[in-house]
Amino acid sequence: MKPDELARTAYTVECFLNALRLDDGPQRTQLEAGLVQWLGEDKNRDGYLVFHQGNLCQHRGRVVMHRQALPQAKQPRTLWCDRKKLSIIDSQAYLSGGKLLMLGTAGLILTLPGSSQAMPQKKERSSNNNNNNNNNNNNNG
């Protein structure tokens, strides 16, 4: 894997594990390294990760290659990532045939748990998106 692609995969997996609210530490580092390596070795580029109801599944296509419990994860929603994208997915669609219905990342906290870095907005009410605007007199142009 090229260095750039490795960096992309590592950062995507980092955000994925942050979204699960997994605390930093040796256990997480080991898990993170293993997942990055596993995705990097994916020659068909159809590998992805799904976190659903406390379990982390490593997929090759729709086939689950490995499953492990992550009881320390604090994320009620079903999350998906591959080497370069991250999203909440529809849990019912995933359960019924492994469909991946991407719902975006609204409301996910992607910073490391306990970090003092800028916290993203929490958005729960809107069906779509972001409070990102929007009167012409107050949106900086």
Binding site: T12, K84, Q117, Q121, N133
Partner: protein, 258 residues
């Protein structure tokens, strides 16, 4: 008789009854203060229906939204408003913008209408090209040469501003490129193109670790039209209160990464 003699509305039992109730709180527990107005109103309706009928209803709570009755009419739904307005149809088109990332293309759709959401991780070395249909530049614009590609990048860090004091995504930068500066697109004659890889890389210091960013695209004249429509149509305004333009949410590898 007592009322008649004293010329007061209270009966002689009021104070006596109150004393009895006060002295026997177990048998006659007082209503919580919050429930007393409701009980008083129920008593009034039961004992003095004529007075109750003349009384004004209690005021709505401060937190209650006041919305017009016709807000829910079908003709006022956002998609119906778009269908009735040729310029809005252009503004909300789902087939007019393509973002090409390292050779893979992704159709950009209005962020308030789309159902599928992608959030890729972008790197400084990525080839990122934005393709737009040439005809968009003529929408709501009398002279194409005056029109621009209008691009905004926001970050999912909250700021509060405006008369509404809403918590909103933070604007990082706005970029406008005049129509005649757009390049020919490999997608064909009907398309134009702008290279965004360098522009995003230039602003890398603004992209924070673990914070999503939001790229929104439109034309200068379509953006103006959106705000004119907001002023002209309150039903449109309330439903397009968030930016309605085509967008891509993305993570950007921060500068502190190895």
């Amino acid at each position: 008789m007592v009322k008649l003699q004293t010329q007061k509305a209270r009966s002689y039992t009021c104070q006596l009854q109150q004393a009895i109730y006060r002295d026997a709180p177990v048998s006659y527990p007082p209503l919580p203060a919050a429930e007393q107005p409701l009980y008083a109103r129920e008593y009034l309706e039961r004992a003095h229906p004529a007075l109750a009928a003349a009384e004004a209803p209690p005021p709505a709570p401060v937190t209650a939204l006041v919305l017009p009755n016709d807000l829910g009419d079908e003709k006022n739904a956002l998609r119906a408003l778009i269908a009735a307005d040729p310029v809005l149809q252009q503004l909300y088109r789902a087939d007019a913008w393509q973002l090409e990332i390292n050779g893979e293309t992704l159709a950009l759709e209005s962020q308030i209408l789309k159902t599928r959401h992608d959030c890729p991780t972008l790197l400084p070395g990525d080839e990122i090209r934005l393709h737009l249909r040439r005809e968009l530049l003529a929408a709501a614009c009398p002279e194409i040469i005056r029109n621009t590609l209008y691009l905004q990048v926001l970050r999912d860090t909250a700021v509060v501003y405006g008369d509404e004091a809403r918590s909103k995504q933070e604007h990082l930068f706005t970029y406008q490129l005049f129509a005649h500066c757009l390049q020919a697109s490999p997608l064909g004659e009907a398309w134009l193109m702008a290279d965004l890889g360098g522009l995003l890389a230039l602003h890398r210091p603004l992209f924070q670790r673990g914070v999503r960013n939001n790229l929104l695209v439109t034309t200068g004249y379509l953006r103006d039209y959106h705000y004119q429509k907001q002023k002209a149509n309150a039903f449109y305004h309330i439903q397009a209160i968030n930016l309605p333009f085509q967008n891509l949410e993305f993570n950007y590898l921060p500068g502190d990464a190895a």
